[in-house]
Symmetry: C2
Subunit: 342 residues, 2 copies
């Protein structure tokens, strides 16, 4: 039987293995009692910045759930301080000062990222050593659009009104900012690959907040640059734009190996919307994991059946696992996927 490593990386190449590989977005997180133990000792950012601890929590879901891939424990805003902004969590991210003007954009650095966030690369090196080939290691970053959205807004938001005000009223400033988040992100993730990350996921969490036209102008071209740079480093890429069904045709041109799908669209239908040629990752509604093991199994099997005709499938949730998820339900999800032979 193939190891998790083979399963995941083969699925990234659009190949079908003996079974569907599985991992969970935000799998190293508060739903895990072992994670909560570590967090009693350190705050979130200190955890991100302490390689031994970040590696330890990255490994927890491998041991507890038996998932087929590890993902670097970090946060999509970790590059913000390297660009010259302060970052805190309260509990959501707070970036200060928010980037609102052309001058603010000009002041941002495109940093020598390996020197600025060495803990990220050290965590990756520790993880590769500890994993010893059991499962592959995924690195990640925010898509340039989503990183820029946070830098302008200064915090999470339902509407991202400040960011959209810039897109609508001063698109040329937005583009200059996006150039900087793109150059920073390219350095950030290609260095992750060189440190040992075996695949890169780009999270475009807010790419779906704008129209398909604006997505094509402000997000897609920048995401493409990052994905292409990773590909040149030889690592497969996963691109996940949340809530972007209205822009599916544009998303399909991004150049990633695997496209993420959220729970709003069945995997068969999502695959058709993307043109039918991509391996997909997803897409159980994280809220299903708030129910009970029997419900989790039923919905997970339905998801796997939806994926029957796909060129490749990496089972996952359709968004990050919720902190209030009962551990047993996360286990039921993973075990249902691992027991399935389609």
């Amino acid at each position: 039987m193939e190891s998790g490593s083979d399963l995941f990386l083969r699925a990234c190449r659009g190949e079908r293995g003996s079974r569907t590989p599985v991992w969970l977005m935000r799998q190293a997180g508060r739903y895990l009692p072992d994670y909560r133990e570590v967090r009693k000792q350190v705050d979130f950012l200190t955890l991100c910045r302490t390689p031994e601890l970040a590696a330890q929590v990255s490994l927890q879901p491998i041991e507890r759930l038996g998932v087929d891939a590890a993902i670097l424990f970090s946060d999509i805003l970790v590059p913000a301080p390297a660009m010259g902004l302060s970052l805190d969590f309260n509990p959501g991210p707070v970036v200060d000062p928010p980037v609102r003007s052309a001058d603010d954009v000009d002041r941002l650095a495109v940093p020598e990222i390996e020197a600025e966030v060495p803990f990220v690369y050290e965590t990756i090196r520790i993880l590769r050593r500890e994993l010893a080939g059991r499962v592959p290691l995924i690195g990640f970053a925010a898509a340039p659009f989503t990183l820029a959205a946070y830098l302008v807004e200064g915090e999470g938001s339902r509407t991202f009104g400040q960011w959209k005000r810039m897109l609508y009223a001063a698109p040329e400033i937005a583009h200059r900012l996006l150039d900087k988040t793109t150059q920073t992100t390219i350095r950030y993730v290609t260095s992750q690959v060189r440190a040992g990350a075996q695949a890169i996921q780009l999270f475009d969490t807010w790419g779906g907040l704008v129209s398909a036209r604006d997505y094509e102008e402000f997000s897609l071209p920048y995401a493409k640059q990052v994905l292409s740079a990773v590909r040149e480093e030889g690592a497969p890429t996963i691109y996940f734009a949340l809530d972007a069904a209205h822009a599916a045709a544009a998303v399909a041109t991004c150049g990633a190996d695997v496209l993420g799908a959220d729970w709003r669209t069945g995997l068969d239908e999502a695959s058709r919307a993307f043109g039918g040629t991509f391996a997909l990752q997803g897409n159980l509604d994280p809220c299903v994991l708030l129910s009970d093991a029997a419900t989790v199994r039923r919905h997970t099997l339905a998801m796997l059946e939806d994926a029957a005709g796909l060129p490749g499938h990496i089972a996952n949730l359709g968004h990050g696992i919720l902190p209030e998820t009962p551990l047993d339900n996360a286990i039921a999800f993973v075990e249902t996927v691992k027991g399935y032979r389609g």
Copy 2:
């Protein structure tokens, strides 16, 4: 030249008048200085429940902005207390106790709504008298799915995890609840029409939080019942499911006269997704109104050009106007629509 009344009601019937009619979702609200003055004296719920004041704020945008329709000042959760739950705003809605079990559902009343919320109907009667035919009056309610989502969750939520847990783990209880929210809503809105509302908008704000399949099971059939009951009363209907591009084909079967479109999809593309036969209402991103008058004009004109081929168009935002919107930008939006001859 036609009055606003003719323009709006003709557009509801899919007819093109001399120009595009315009109103704004949540047009009686905190962005208006006159509204903030009234709110200094009374809290939000007291305002909803005091016909003279509710009518007064409903009229403010007619006078300040010159919109082509008035909408009843109220809240989609106003029927909750009539069903036996307490309702407060803090500042978002809080319903207590939340509906979580079959017993909770059984305890809910399908109320004699005119006796329970007489202030709604009195507000409508005052408004029709005060409007004196200048512009028509729109009544509204939550779609049964969206009302049920709040009753189960107990408050607003990003994920509506409690509501989804019911949908996934106990769909039969969800359906019993949806039967009750549907019967209540039918009584609520048909009584609005009998009191004088000349059109009804059904807000399915959370209908897009679930997959197209779940939308078809849990939202669409109930919305259809309400829309059909309103039609039997002789009033046109507008159905607005937010963020539901993934379910557009299903939405198009709801039986409304007009479909709402959010800002994520261009009106031309939204029209195609709905089958090309509907008058549409929408869809400027409310965040455009956070910018400046020139930007508002440019984006509003682009929206109107997108609507050129539609069977009918009611200009509006793609979601409610934001409280922090500068009044001048709301005026620029309305004036751009009213000055446009396509």
